[in-house]
């Protein structure tokens, strides 16, 4: 489990691009719908349309291309695996290449290409959301989007607040984990060797102080919140308010046009 490298929490790149300035609600909805309509594409024109729109999105975000490519790295193995699967086992159409029992046929190449493309489109679009939206905006946007569901019992405010608290405490807990592990190692604990049971056992003296400290922090935070008058979301005022602008309407109109275009151009 060690050496431990710090967890990467989001990849937000601060900036002032059009995408950064869009309302987080707009971004969440548009990107969610976009990820669904990627599945509508099934021919050259529709995939071409999606490549163009995604590229425009990347361009507008002002995020360096290299960062996007780096984000694609973990998916690469999966893409390569799927592509090979289709390349060798999907049959049909003209035989393009054959060597002994192995043949690569036209349909396999097409499938491999489309599926890889679909993966990349999905991952890049998903990244655009977290690259251009800070975690505060993201939780804020989700809270506002969920608010209508209050009536059916979804505690939108509490969920968003809990998410912010979790996010805030992940680095703190991380630091503490490292500190406690080092402290136990100084006392002779060994996390690296021995059977899996021995290693499991060596983690108990790390977990116990971690839990105790988590309880303590939760208590202190609850006390601090109440001392400042926290009493649930009802009637709470906000420092930052979300407002829709013209750009948000444009984003929705463009998305609508894209959906129509995809439905019209896809092969039946």
């Amino acid at each position: 489990m060690s050496p431990l490298s710090a967890p990467v929490l989001g990849q937000y790149v601060p900036g002032d691009s059009i995408l950064h300035r869009l309302d987080p609600r707009t971004k969440i909805v548009v990107i969610f719908v976009y990820m669904l309509i990627v599945f509508l594409a099934n021919n050259g024109i529709t995939y071409g349309l999606l490549i163009v729109t995604t590229s425009v999105g990347v361009f507008l975000s002002g995020v360096p291309i290299l960062m996007i490519l780096r984000g694609l790295k973990p998916v690469f193995i999966l893409i390569a695996f799927t592509a090979c699967l289709h390349l060798f086992f999907t049959k049909g159409g003209e035989v393009l290449f054959s060597m002994g029992p192995i043949t690569i046929e036209e349909k396999g190449v097409m499938q491999a290409g489309w599926i890889s493309l679909r993966f990349m489109l999905l991952v890049v679009t998903g990244m655009l959301l977290t690259l251009t939206t800070s975690s505060i905006d993201l939780t804020d946007g989700m809270e506002r989007l969920l608010t209508p569901l209050r009536r059916v019992g979804v505690p939108a405010h509490e969920l968003a607040l809990m998410m912010s608290i979790s996010l805030r405490f992940i680095p703190t807990l991380w630091e503490e984990t490292n500190k406690i592990m080092k402290a136990q190692q100084a006392r002779g604990a060994d996390f690296e060797s021995g059977s899996i049971f021995k290693r499991l056992k060596s983690f108990i003296p790390v977990l116990i102080p971690l839990f105790v400290s988590a309880f303590r922090r939760a208590e202190e935070l609850a006390l601090a919140m109440e001392a400042r008058g926290y009493r649930g979301g009802q009637g709470r005022t906000r420092l930052r308010k979300l407002t829709f602008t013209g750009n948000d309407s444009i984003a929705f109109i463009l998305l609508f046009l894209l959906v129509i275009g995809l439905i019209g151009l896809r092969s039946q």
Partner: protein
């Protein structure tokens, strides 16, 4: 419970969810299992939350953990199938353990609970994988795993994996619980 109790509950569940996220981040593959099945101990904070505040709190920890994981670590496919599977498995595990532990008091209840939960999780996840999760992946990559290959993946991969994961979690949680008992069962503030 008074208001004070409820703010405490909110902060505790949040921080435990952050803790669970960290534990999930420290995952490791098991030898002999396919690499997409990874073991982590992120069910431990959820179990603690469940025993402190009831099964719903445990489910909440699982939910927040996976939401955070999806948003901030990303999904391999852009669509949170893995996170959904983890949420379902974790919730079954935590809810079963909490309900049984509450019914049969003491350490005996906990051991029974963890055992039943492990078996239940393995069975339900095998069924869910066979009928829902693997087909969902298949749809995504346009490749159907069918027939004997699918059955053996579920029988030798997913089922045993969930058993091993449950057993490892239980082995860690029992000593943990004995030390934290005093904190977990705080006298209710009324």
């Amino acid at each position: 419970m008074t208001k004070q109790g409820s703010t405490m509950k909110l902060t505790t569940v949040s921080i435990l969810a952050g803790f669970a996220f960290l534990m999930q981040y420290l995952n490791f593959p098991l030898p002999m299992f396919p690499p997409f099945l990874k073991v982590d101990f992120s069910e431990l904070p959820a179990l603690v939350a469940g025993l402190m505040f009831g099964p719903l709190a445990g489910v909440l920890v699982e939910f927040l953990k996976n939401l955070l994981h999806y948003l901030f670590s990303g999904s391999d496919t852009g669509i949170p199938i893995g996170q959904l599977a983890n949420f379902v498995a974790g919730s079954i595990f935590v809810v079963t353990t909490v309900l049984i532990t509450r019914k049969l008091q003491g350490i005996k209840g906990l051991v029974t609970g963890l055992t039943v939960a492990t078996i239940l999780m393995a069975v339900i996840m095998s069924i869910a994988n066979y009928w829902v999760i693997l087909p969902a992946y298949a749809f995504l990559i346009h490749w159907e795993v069918v027939g004997p290959a699918k059955t053996s993946l579920v029988l030798y991969g997913i089922g045993p994996f969930n058993l091993v994961k449950g057993v490892l979690t239980a082995l860690l949680f029992i000593p943990l619980y004995q030390r934290l008992k005093g904190r977990i069962h705080l006298p209710k503030i009324s």
